[in-house]
Amino acid sequence: MQQNQAARVLATLFFIGLLVCVVVLNKRSVTRQGGSVVANSAEEAGGSQYPVPAAPDAMERYGFKLTEVSKTAGVEFTHQPPKLDAKLSHIIDRVADMGAAVAIADFDRDGWPDFYVTNSAEGGKNHLYHNNHDGTFTDVAEQMGVAAVNSAESGVSMGAVWGDYDDDGYEDLLVYKWGKCQLFHNENGKGFKEAVNSGVPQWMNANAGIWLDYDNDGKLDLLLGGYFDEKLDLWKLPSGNIMPDSIEYATNGTRLYLLKGRGDGTFEDVTVQVGLDKHKAWTLAAVAVDMTGDTFPDIFLANDYGKAELWHNVEGKRFENVSVPSGVGDRPKSGMNAAVGDIFNDGKFSIYVSNITEDHYLLQGNNMWVPSAAAKPGELMFENQANGLGVENGGWSFGAQFGDLNNDGFQDIYLVNGYLSGTKESYWYDYATFAGGNQSIIRDAAKWIPIKGRSLSGYQPKRVWLNDGAGRFTEVAQAVGASDRFDGRAVALADLWNRGSLDILASNQRGPLLVYKNEVRPENHWISFELEGVKSNRSAIGAITTVYWNGQKQSQFVSGGVGFCAQNDRRLHFGLGKSVTVEKVEIRWPSGIIQTITSPATDKLHRIRETSASG
């Protein structure tokens, strides 16, 4: 009897210990992922959504600091959402929740990056900011003919990407919309002319668009992914039955378009021919890069309300769905971003996908798909290491990009987040209440609970994860000055002022475009490359550059759109840490040509033209 009582006392103490463990381990987990991102109101977020200056010791501790300079740079742009059909008015903030996009390119070839930002209000103007070379920008969209593209009749912008589809040396512009996609030909940097009968979809609810050369024929192709069913005109809805029929297994999304470029501004729909017609999803992000070493770009798709997809490019002839065997399609989340980076300096690309994490409600966690060590050469196999690397909790994450922000030689991550910043009241409970219900309820907008201006993961602190190169990322956003609380959507990186550091453009839904100027510790060195294809497409989209220095190597690729509705500058920027020399640089062009440059000068931009043969 006494023995039993002693056992009971011990068991009770053990039981209490377990409860204490729950609290302690929870705290430890939160700290390891960079702290909580929850903020319920503007007041809780510090009173203003605008950023505050970096900590005084940011430069010393982290090697860089960010200063938001949009006003002094002359960039005054605020994104506005569309109104759409009145049947959606009670949840319009939930439906019209995207469209703030940004794409960077030097459209007039003056050697300085310019950028295009999209608006989504009916009648709202998109802006094209021309770099004035003096730290300021001027909006030239109207005079260039790419401002007035948003209307209820033709649809509203969701994103844009630059690519020189006719190899004339000037970057052309595709604006993809909920509505009619518009392709603009760049007239020698002096204006844009809409391409007619180009073959781009006359109507689709697109949320992802990238340039790629899927068959390496030297002519740029287009990949477009849709969100709402393409048959829907969101201004003239027959009913409210337009929402996803499942929050994680939706089947009522829309198709992909793979449009093969002919090099003359016209495109042929080859989606069925290459086997991409089996896709039907709510796609929010796409990225194309060769991950098997066969020079043909493979395609990764981040899908909302569903599983991610990975399509292996089989010699530019067809695509094979390897989502499940590769591991990336293991289970559904709310995929919103697809960024690609070499995070271990081993020449292998990892894929970063953003999802939703909200305390109490939904803990999807972001995914970092790292190439599996067990994969055979040429085999696509990944493992999600986001938790171990400390980059899992980004809140309601949207756009993210890899880039070496402090030039220490490792790829860091800049992530924007925050879904809907409204009143102090949260919509989360109501959302969670019906989200698990039967499809007949959730796909009908009429059955959704009105939002009434409430917040849904609003006012979230951004994430800047510094890569230590040894398998850990440290969250430093607030300390380095990335402290805005807007509802972030797209983020794009470029050395905007040709200073040898990556600056950041962050677009926000119903908010301002932020320009973060990056000041980097001068002891860290860098090198960057602007590639021009000859046999390959002139934009060099798909080219992979590997820099070898100080016993390590890092690969980057030229993208035709990456992240969420974003495009980084085509120039590739490598931080080198304290090294002042580079052993060699190897460029794998889409044509298959491998070009090697020995001992290039550092702290310098190199303009490289594709050679006619490897060497």
Binding site: A11, L363, D430
Partner: protein, 301 residues
């Protein structure tokens, strides 16, 4: 959903097995059913966070049961209950970390041995463990919600199998009562907050709720014994859940069913134990009085 249906009296099942040589021991019904549902869901939807985490929860649960069972009773108990506790935690806990699965299983089994009144444990073990984690670790732990799709056929499977199993134990009335009350309260909430009725009734149309209805609120060991009391408790759980949904802060409200069962389950059990104890006392007093009277009677006679 824990030792749900794992607690049919051993003598009863043994005699049943004698009568029907191929009849299955009822203690295995719930484990088999939940395993079947889980496998089907995993194959079709990839429902699990990570199957290794579920295995961890099951393993820890079984090891804890063996250890505690041996310490307290000097014998290894039947492990069906521990298996169901583990698999329940493995399905219902959602976390990117590993530790919540292990701790949920440990809390679940330990609570059975620690929190007891008159030899009976009050809480449905896995419900208790999940409620603790949701309350104490909301940044790291959520519960299963939308990971089984939003389609009708998974529910039909759970309904069918659930109804067959639950009726074997004579507890289908608890499910029916709860569903009827939930719908009625959803209607009242929609009148009160102006939300569409379908939005309020939506949760019960999802597969996660079917697990709650069939396998948590019907757990024989932690439900009251009389039929009317079981129906009353089902009503009270639905009422408490609705009250939490309507008035509680959102982070509590979103896990209302778990908390409602955590509150009402032990309360009803405690009341029943108290009432039984009073009745027993009264019976024993009456018997004692009668015996005294009988003893005195010859003398007085």
């Amino acid at each position: 959903m824990t030792p749900a249906m794992t607690s049919a009296p051993a003598t009863e099942t043994r005699s049943a097995a004698v009568k029907k040589p191929f009849a299955i021991d009822k203690r295995y019904l719930a484990p088999l059913l939940i395993t079947a549902i889980l496998l089907a869901a995993q194959v079709n939807f990839g429902v699990l966070e990570d199957y290794r985490k579920t295995l961890l929860a099951i393993g820890v649960s079984i090891v804890m049961e063996i250890i505690l069972g041996y310490i307290f009773n000097r014998k290894i108990p039947h492990l069906a209950s521990a298996y169901v506790s583990g698999i329940s935690c493995g399905i219902l806990v959602r976390s990117p970390e590993w530790w919540p699965y292990a701790l949920a299983a440990m809390l679940s089994v330990t609570s059975k041995y620690v929190i007891r009144v008159q030899g009976r444990h009050l809480w449905n073990p896995s419900n208790f463990a999940i409620a603790c984690l949701l309350l104490l670790a909301p940044q790291t732990v959520a519960s299963l919600s939308i990971q089984w799709g939003n389609y009708i056929w998974p529910m039909l499977i759970v309904w069918t199998l659930g109804a067959i199993i639950v009726s074997q134990f004579g507890r289908l009335h608890i499910c029916a009562m709860y569903v009827a009350c939930f719908v009625a309260f959803a209607f009242l909430r929609s009148l009160g907050n102006g939300h569409p009725f379908f939005a309020e009734v939506s949760p019960i149309t999802g597969p996660m709720y079917q697990l709650f209805i069939f396998f948590m609120i019907t757990d024989p060991k932690t439900t009251t014994h009389s039929r009317w009391a079981q129906m009353l408790v089902a009503f009270l759980i639905a009422a408490t859940e609705s009250a939490l949904r309507y008035w509680a802060p959102a982070p509590i409200a979103v896990h209302a069913p778990y908390y409602a069962l955590t509150i009402m389950g032990p309360t009803s059990n405690f009341i029943e134990i108290w009432m039984n104890s009073r009745a027993k006392k009264a019976t024993s007093e009456t018997a004692s009085l009668r015996s005294t009277t009988e003893e005195l009677s010859p003398k007085t006679a």
